[in-house]
Amino acid sequence: MAQEVARQEKREMTETGKDRMAMSFTPAVDIFETNGTTVIMADMPGVAPEDVDVTLERQVLTLQGKVRPHAPEGYRRLSTEYREGDYVRVFTLSDEVDQSKIKAEFKHGVLRLELPRAPEAKPKKIKVRAN
């Protein structure tokens, strides 16, 4: 299971420091577990597949996406319901993950990450001997 590190409101804006106007958003995620695999799906519209970065360091999983500005050129803003910015979200995984079997796929602005549990982390049945 994945636990969020810093609890953030959805789509919260955070200053990223260096870039003066840069904003980063918390992508909406779906997390479910099936057959000993934790699946995380994260919405990152506006991000190209090559600009997605997933890192797993010890138990800390970081999802990042760099957005390509898609504002039409020569146009001025009329009404705004969403803002553009990079995406960041951090989770800690409570289970050991089989690193060699992690699958990451990015399609139509959605990251799908499959994190299979390591064999040793799977619950083992312990036999109780009756004396």
Partner: protein
């Protein structure tokens, strides 16, 4: 509209036309705005000289999941978010992504030429460029001297 502006020092103002255009455009788009609704995709609008651009975040959808119709000045965007492929016996921990069907209709400040609509869909973002019909564009009328 009935006003006469005299340029200072008797010099013709080279930017008067440009300013007038800007003013006309502001008037055309005055009062236009949309409000985000729960469970519906977020849409941004952009204004050009004689066109309007709509951009919408639709992550996870493919071209076939999106339906876009334009009639007169009303643009309708509808579709459905595909169900995540979970396999059997999935235990849900979090469900934040939008799901189900959606439909939004927005009235634009002017009519749209249906044959001059261009839509693109990349990385979960839909971009639709819509043009004003030629006959609706404001025309400059030349005044002949007799």
């Amino acid at each position: 509209m009935l006003q006469t502006s005299f340029a200072p020092y008797g010099m013709p103002d080279p930017f008067a036309d440009m300013r007038r255009m800007q003013r006309d455009m502001n008037r055309m788009f005055a009062g236009f705005g949309t409000a985000p609704r729960d469970g519906q995709p977020a849409i941004n609008f952009w204004a050009g000289q004689d066109s309007i651009v709509l951009t919408a975040e639709l992550p996870g959808l493919s071209q076939d999941d999106i339906e876009l119709t334009v009639k007169d000045g009303i643009v309708t965007l509808s579709g459905h978010y595909p169900e995540p492929q979970t396999g059997e016996e999935a235990t849900w921990h979090r469900r934040e992504r939008l799901q189900g069907r959606f439909s939004r209709s927005i009235e634009l400040p002017f009519r749209i030429a249906p044959d001059r609509v261009e839509a693109r869909f990349t990385n979960g973002v839909l971009t639709v460029e819509m043009q004003r019909p030629e006959e609706d564009k404001p025309k400059r009328i030349e005044i002949k001297s007799s």
